[in-house]
């Protein structure tokens, strides 16, 4: 077991290193950041000074080695385009908003997908089944920004119930971005719930409960639903990471001041250290959650070994 965990941790670190190298290289493909950092008529002497200040005059492998060296000590560097402020502070100020949005989106996914999943399983091949599938599939097939803009138009502009954007109005502010972000995962969770429910509904103990005259709602919600939750909940643990990273577009559309919004700004400004830090942070979330799930599986099922 210990060997398994050790090897999985090594794999995770290797994956992070590869990701960091890819991000580091790709960010530089987008062009010279000095072109954006400095005005058009900046003298060459100033251009060179700025290159030197940010280490851009060094070979790329030295830049990478320096970056990784600082990163592992918790120093993410300074944000070039934000006047040299520490990136750690920038991320710390935005991360809570992103986590809050992802958490709300997770709840939205569960709140929509689980009841629909149960309903369509119980009413299999009925109009509910087909309607539920359509509702869920719309979420998965339509881009989240399009869903977001439609929601914004309907609930903020036409009905005036909710704010269009920002995070000033407390709970009201998070509803639209949270629904737009969480709706994407509804289809997958709903289908997992449906198939899991159908499987449980077909078991002997459920048939026995019905024969004994137990009310149908009690059979479904007390006996079937709880047992059917295992599979969708495993998946929902994983979509936490998807929701964190999926916030990039939604945060931009809804002016939600989180990491996704910062990432877009950083890309626009070619602020490489900020881009790298955010992408590596997101990647680390993914890898950590996968690692956690793998370790839990190994713990729960001793037959799983590396």
């Amino acid at each position: 077991m210990q060997r398994f965990i050790f090897l999985r941790v090594i794999q995770s670190i290797a994956a992070l290193l590869v990701i960091s190298a890819v991000v580091f290289a790709l960010a530089r493909v987008t062009g010279d950041p000095v072109a954006i950092l400095l005005p058009e008529d900046a003298p060459d002497t100033v251009v060179e000074q700025v290159r030197e200040k940010w280490g851009l005059d060094q070979p790329i492998y030295i830049q990478y080695a320096r970056y990784i060296g600082n990163f592992v000590t918790g120093d993410f560097g300074e944000a070039w385009a934000y006047g040299g402020v520490p990136i750690t502070g920038l991320i710390a100020s935005r991360l809570p908003n992103t986590i809050m949005l992802a958490a709300f989106a997770w709840v939205v996914s569960a709140a929509i997908a689980l009841p629909i999943g149960v309903l369509v399983a119980v009413k299999k091949d009925s109009v509910f089944d087909w309607t539920g599938k359509v509702v869920a599939l719309i979420g998965q097939s339509a881009p989240s920004f399009a869903i977001g803009l439609i929601l914004m138009w309907v609930f903020a502009v036409l009905l005036g119930w909710l704010p269009t954007s920002g995070n000033d109005d407390g709970f009201k502010s998070i509803i639209l971005p949270g629904v737009a972000l969480g709706y994407y995962n509804v289809a997958a969770v709903m289908r997992l719930t449906r198939s899991s429910m159908l499987e449980v509904l077909d078991t002997e103990y459920v048939k026995l409960a019905r024969i004994k005259g137990m009310p149908e709602w009690k059979v479904i919600w007390k006996h079937c639903f709880r047992n059917a939750l295992i599979v969708p909940f495993t998946y929902m643990g994983l979509i936490g990471a998807i929701l964190l990273t999926g916030s990039v577009v939604i945060e931009t559309v809804f002016v939600w001041p989180g990491l996704g919004d910062l990432a877009i700004d950083a890309i626009r400004n070619r602020d490489f250290p900020v881009i790298q830090s955010i992408v590596i942070l997101f990647a680390a979330c993914y890898i950590f959650i996968n690692l956690l799930v793998d370790v839990m599986y190994a713990y729960l099922n001793p037959r799983i070994r590396y």
Partner: protein, 636 residues
């Protein structure tokens, strides 16, 4: 039966859920959008206009009589010669005579009723990099600071004329190297422990000129400082607020020495450019740079309240009796919304009173009862550069771009009217000579916009020796903020060039490769789309049309004749001579077909006429960020 019951139950459930959401949110549907015209409301109710003095052009809501709407939504006519900006001419920028104190600002018209709203909310695209340290981020970022920070001079939004701001009066020595400036006295900073004085100016100058600063006119400050200005460029704690190039006569009078003659100080040191905001030395010494990042101060009519990076920046009215103007609104909030449709939604949901609306969505805003208002002077200049016109060291004699006949052929191959109609809704003011607007004193009204004449283009190419196979050129176009159409207009232009015989290799995408090549002066046989802000011809010459020897930056046109003219213009202190030199340079470049001029674009914003009685859009990159102290509220 049971299925029907279940269906009814489901529908009831959905309705109950929707009702619960409504009740929980306490929301109500918004009122119908206004159908009254802005001018109709405001003409009777608004306070006497202070600055600017005339109404901006407004496209009124759809409910107006159609005739009126048509008249007002026409493309902006070129400004008449009579409106020539004194500020662009050497006569005023030289400022030999002390400038009068500005007219007292009229107080908001409290007698005309209570404001319908205390808060002014403006939705704009985020600046490149949001930061409250203006000298570190520079460029458009400083626009969001200008409600609270002032400069020595200001420019009239309509006439471009130089006006006093924190400089009350000024004069320049006969050799153009020594500026004596009298500063406005008793102007407090927002922390109210200091008033503006010479040491604050010197300290601010040190910030703009510091090597780690990222200010828009760094090259200019570098030039006028010269080798003597090292105490400004690399200040230490001990020398803050002191510089050998600035002599403090008294706390409110200083003599500013230049390394070379410079008559345009009232332009470069004005709030119209990006750099020269005035910071408090006292605040810095007491609190350090970090305090400026958290809670900056200035002398402006708005005081910083809070800042949430990526979302919003809040100001409030700074003083009850500001020396320049007391804003009509109590607070000013900028919302930074990247997505166009979000800003449209914010305006339509009445969460914003002024919003930056892309041209293609403006019709929808007007149809919904809102108005579009635009700057009275352009904010952008758009053209196509013809690369390869370098001095001998980089010139390639085989480059077709160096042939004036080929350049003329290019100019007549482009259908500017079609571009204007298709991409700019006929709102672009067509340009005859790149860099010269009709309001510039050195503009010649005889200049004509090149006519679309493909046959003439073919004849010119034949005359240039390209009878059978046309010249081969590369056409590059990249995205630039402010004019998203830049890459789109490249497509028909390439097609028109090919139609008259050019062989064109297209490269459309990012602007960065273009910049890399023009900085290296490697644009031989290349055409590229470009845009800049609205600047005087002399500034455009310096940045675009001179060689590295004269501190050019883009090297779009280099010619011994224009080099000589610009050099003489820069060092001359005779206003008439300078004007004639700039006219001569303009004529020469016009005759040479140095570029493919396209047009001037205006800054445009959507406004809610139920709240905004008067709003004059600033004619610069800063668009909706500046001048909100002059925005007037509708009063009941």
């Amino acid at each position: 039966m049971s299925k029907a019951v279940s269906l009814r139950t489901a529908i009831f459930g959905v309705l109950a859920l929707a009702l619960t959401v409504v009740v929980a949110c306490g929301g109500t549907a918004p009122a119908e959008p206004a159908t009254q015209s802005t001018s109709g409301d405001s003409s009777a109710q608004q306070a006497p206009a202070a600055q600017p003095q005339s109404q901006p052009q407004q496209q009124q809501p759809a409910s107006q009589p159609s005739g009126q709407q048509q008249a007002q939504s026409q493309a902006p006519a070129p400004t008449a010669a009579a409106a020539q900006p004194v500020g662009m001419s050497d006569a005023s920028t030289g400022g030999a005579a002390p400038t009068a104190v500005p007219e007292p600002t009229a107080a908001p018209a409290m007698t005309l009723g209570e404001p319908v709203q205390a808060d002014l909310r403006v939705a704009i695209t985020p600046p490149y990099a949001e930061n409250l340290l203006g000298w570190r981020v520079g460029g458009t970022n400083q626009g969001i600071l200008q409600p609270m920070q002032e400069a020595l001079f200001q420019r009239d939004y309509q006439t471009w004329e130089a006006k006093p701001m924190l400089a009350e009066s000024w004069s320049v020595s006969p050799d153009g190297k020594e500026w004596t400036i009298n500063l406005r006295e008793n102007v407090p900073f927002h922390h109210e422990e200091d008033t503006f004085g010479v040491s604050d100016f010197v300290f601010s100058f040190q910030l703009w000129s510091h090597p780690e600063a990222n200010t828009g006119f760094g090259a200019f400050w570098d030039q006028i400082l010269g080798p003597e200005g090292d105490d400004v460029r690399s200040f230490t704690t001990e020398t803050l607020g002191q510089a050998a190039t600035v002599t403090e006569v008294s706390d409110s009078e200083m003599v500013w020495n230049m390394n070379r003659p410079e008559l345009w100080i009232p332009f470069y040191a004005s709030e119209a450019t990006t750099d020269p905001l005035i910071y408090s030395l006292d605040y810095w010494e007491k609190n350090g740079e970090a305090a400026y990042a958290e809670s900056p101060v200035g002398t402006g009519p708005w005081r910083h309240v809070s800042y949430q990076q990526g979302a919003k920046l809040e100001y409030e009215r700074a003083f009850d009796d500001h020396w320049r103007i007391n804003p009509d609104f109590d607070t000013l909030t900028f919302f930074f919304a990247e997505e166009d449709l979000t800003r449209v939604a914010m305006l339509r949901a009445k969460e914003a009173d002024i919003a930056e609306i892309p041209r293609e969505l403006q019709g929808e805003i007007v149809d919904a009862g809102f108005a579009i208002t635009q700057s009275t002077l352009p904010a952008f200049m758009v053209w196509v550069g013809i690369g390869g016109q370098y001095l001998e060291d980089k010139r390639n004699a085989d480059d077709p771009n160096t042939n004036v006949l080929v350049r003329r052929a290019m100019n007549h191959a482009i259908d500017r009217d079609a571009l204007n109609e298709a991409f700019f809704d006929n709102k672009m003011e067509l340009m005859a000579n790149t860099g010269w607007h009709p309001t510039d004193p050195s503009y010649d009204p005889a200049w004509e916009i090149p006519a679309y004449d493909p046959d003439l283009s073919r004849e010119l190419l034949a005359e240039a020796g390209y009878g059978d196979s046309g010249p081969s050129v590369e056409f590059m176009s990249g995205k630039l903020v402010g004019v998203p159409e830049l890459t789109e207009i490249a497509v028909p232009m390439i097609s028109w060039l090919e139609d008259v015989g050019f062989s064109v290799e297209a490269q459309i995408g990012e602007f960065q490769p273009i910049r890399t090549r023009y900085r290296a002066r490697e644009m031989n046989s290349v055409l590229w789309t470009h845009r800049t802000g609205f600047w005087p011809a002399g500034r455009n010459m310096r940045v675009y049309f001179v060689s590295p020897a004269l501190a050019g930056a883009v090297f779009m046109y280099e010619d011994p004749i224009t080099e000589d003219l610009f050099s003489r213009w820069q060092s001359s202190v005779d206003e008439t001579e300078r004007l004639n030199l700039m006219k001569e340079a303009g004529h020469y470049m016009y005759d040479q077909n140095a570029t493919i001029p396209l047009g001037f674009l205006f800054a445009e914003f959507g406004i809610n006429p139920e709240v905004i009685a008067e709003y004059s859009v600033n004619n610069s990159y800063f668009g909706g960020m500046k001048g909100h102290e002059y925005t007037r509220v509708v009063r009941q």
